[in-house]
């Protein structure tokens, strides 16, 4: 996927107002099956996989023993004993090694990342385009669900998920048909305003929706509790997953720093990752993501700050190339679509 096709702002607006399609073939697809698959996944990931019915998906995290994030991913239950994990491209090797290290007998692991193509079709017109493109018989998935369908005699998995804050589907298929599938979909969606979109727009869209990016907002040194992802951690499930004890302690005792959303209140340079945040003379945090928001028209970002300064309304100073500009902690997310 290129950074941009026609321009980040234009692509960003297409997704907010009509629809955009992203080539996300770089992402990893792991399949896990076998009678012990569910138990294995519940001992590997933070969310409760047992809550998934067949055809349902959930956002979940893979942690190290210290509770730090190895990866954040979506887990789908394709069949009673078959699961799909969609993982970050940069983490395929690390995730695979971690799974292989922990895998017990009776669980079959298969990495199909190299042979799987994927597209994210996102925006208020995404479903209308998907229906027109895939045809009348397409079993439309509901939010977070996944369905299987045949397109030109090829199996296509469609999940009602995304990384933009808009409605839409993520489509998975065998790599051989990727180019044809992408071009045909673009053609079919053109009358409804569908545009090809790149990594640049993907980043500004996910940032406005406050969806974390692993490597920026998530890291091996930060836990999901610090990242504000407690909703996707089940501490009540029976299974022990790596880092569970650390997370339990954080939940009881609290954390020192939290991931917050902030906006630029000055007319200054836009926030970027790794800018330091100050209150008076003291450093109280550091940014992990930042960009000018195409939807809102001002600079926005995410940062880890001391919990004392994490309340919306708190005004901090952000240091940009030796100069300090004012930012304000705000409620997450920056953007929420009208339902």
């Amino acid at each position: 996927m290129p950074v941009q096709y026609t321009g980040i702002v234009e692509e960003h607006k297409a997704v907010r107002e009509a629809a955009g399609v992203f080539d996300i073939s770089h992402m990893g697809e792991f399949f896990i099956s076998g009678s012990n698959g569910l138990a294995f996944l519940n001992g590997l990931l933070t969310n409760d996989a047992a809550k998934l019915g067949v055809g349902q998906g959930q956002y979940t995290l893979m942690l190290n023993e210290q509770g730090g994030v190895i990866d954040d991913l979506i887990l789908y239950r394709l069949h009673e004993e078959e699961f799909l994990l969609v993982v970050n491209a940069a983490k395929i090797e690390e995730d695979r090694a971690w799974i292989r290290k922990n895998i017990p007998a009776g669980v079959v692991f298969c990495d199909k990342s190299d042979v799987t193509g994927a597209l994210a079709l996102q925006g208020p017109k995404a479903l209308e385009i998907a229906r027109a493109f895939l045809g009348a018989g397409w079993p439309e998935p509901k939010r977070n669900e996944i369905t299987s369908y045949s397109w030109n005699c090829q199996n296509v998995l469609a999940a009602r998920t995304g990384y933009t804050g808009e409605d839409g589907v993520e489509l998975f298929f065998v790599n051989d048909i990727a180019e044809n599938f992408f071009l045909s979909l673009l053609e079919a969606g053109k009358p409804l305003g569908l545009k090809p979109c790149g990594l640049g727009a993907r980043d500004t869209l996910r940032l406005e929706a406050c969806l974390p990016l692993n490597g920026n907002d998530l890291s091996a040194l930060r836990t999901p509790i610090e990242a504000g992802l407690g909703l996707f951690v089940s501490l009540t499930k029976e299974a022990d997953f790596p880092g569970k004890d650390v997370l339990q302690k954080q939940k009881t005792n609290g954390v020192n720093q939290k991931l917050v959303a902030f906006r630029l209140t000055d007319k200054g340079p836009p926030p970027r990752p790794h800018y330091r945040l100050f209150l008076g003379g003291e450093q109280v945090g550091e940014t992990t993501s930042g960009a000018p928001s195409p939807t809102l028209g001002y600079g926005i970002g995410l940062a880890y700050v001391e919990v004392e300064e994490a309340e919306p309304g708190t005004v901090l100073e952000m240091e940009v190339r030796g100069v300090r500009v004012l930012v304000e902690v705000v409620k997450k997310p920056f953007y929420k679509r009208a339902v």
């Binding site: 950074v3 941009q4 321009g7 980040i8 702002v9 960003h12 640049g200 500004t204 200054g268 340079p269 836009p270 970027r272 960009a291 000018p292 195409p294 190339r321």
Partner: protein, 127 residues
């Protein structure tokens, strides 16, 4: 295809310079503004700053990223284009005109001769 005016000189890092007497006016190329896309913020040097050729002298921020701008020649900054503070988008719409960045009193005008001419820059960017 981007616009590459004949009368300017170009640095490999995509800045242009126009020399009139002892003064050089500096901006970024049409190709560079197109690559950056959607410029949202321009940070200019202070008048009086003495700068060496190749040193970072300004920053242009697009939606995508912050990009350093290098001075194509050595000298003292004698004027900056304050319009860009309020209208950074001029960098996209008029890179060779209204979006000039700053003017230098050149300390060694011969440096400019070593920069690329339009044909050399054109071949560098593969057009």
């Amino acid at each position: 295809m981007s616009t590459i005016p004949e009368q300017l000189r170009y640095a490999a890092s995509h800045e242009w310079i126009k020399v009139e007497g002892e003064t050089g006016t500096v901006g970024i190329s049409d190709h560079a503004q197109h690559e950056l896309n959607d410029v949202v913020y321009v940070e200019l040097p202070k008048v009086g700053t003495k700068i060496a050729a190749g040193a970072v002298v300004a920053v242009i921020e697009s939606v995508k990223a912050a990009s350093d701008i290098y001075s194509p020649a050595s000298g003292e900054v004698v004027e900056v284009n304050g319009d860009l503070v309020k209208k950074p988008e001029l960098v996209n719409s008029d890179p060779y005109g209204a979006a000039w960045l700053f003017r230098l009193k050149l300390s060694s005008p011969a440096e400019v001769e070593a920069l690329k001419d339009a044909a050399g820059y054109k071949s560098q960017i593969g057009e």
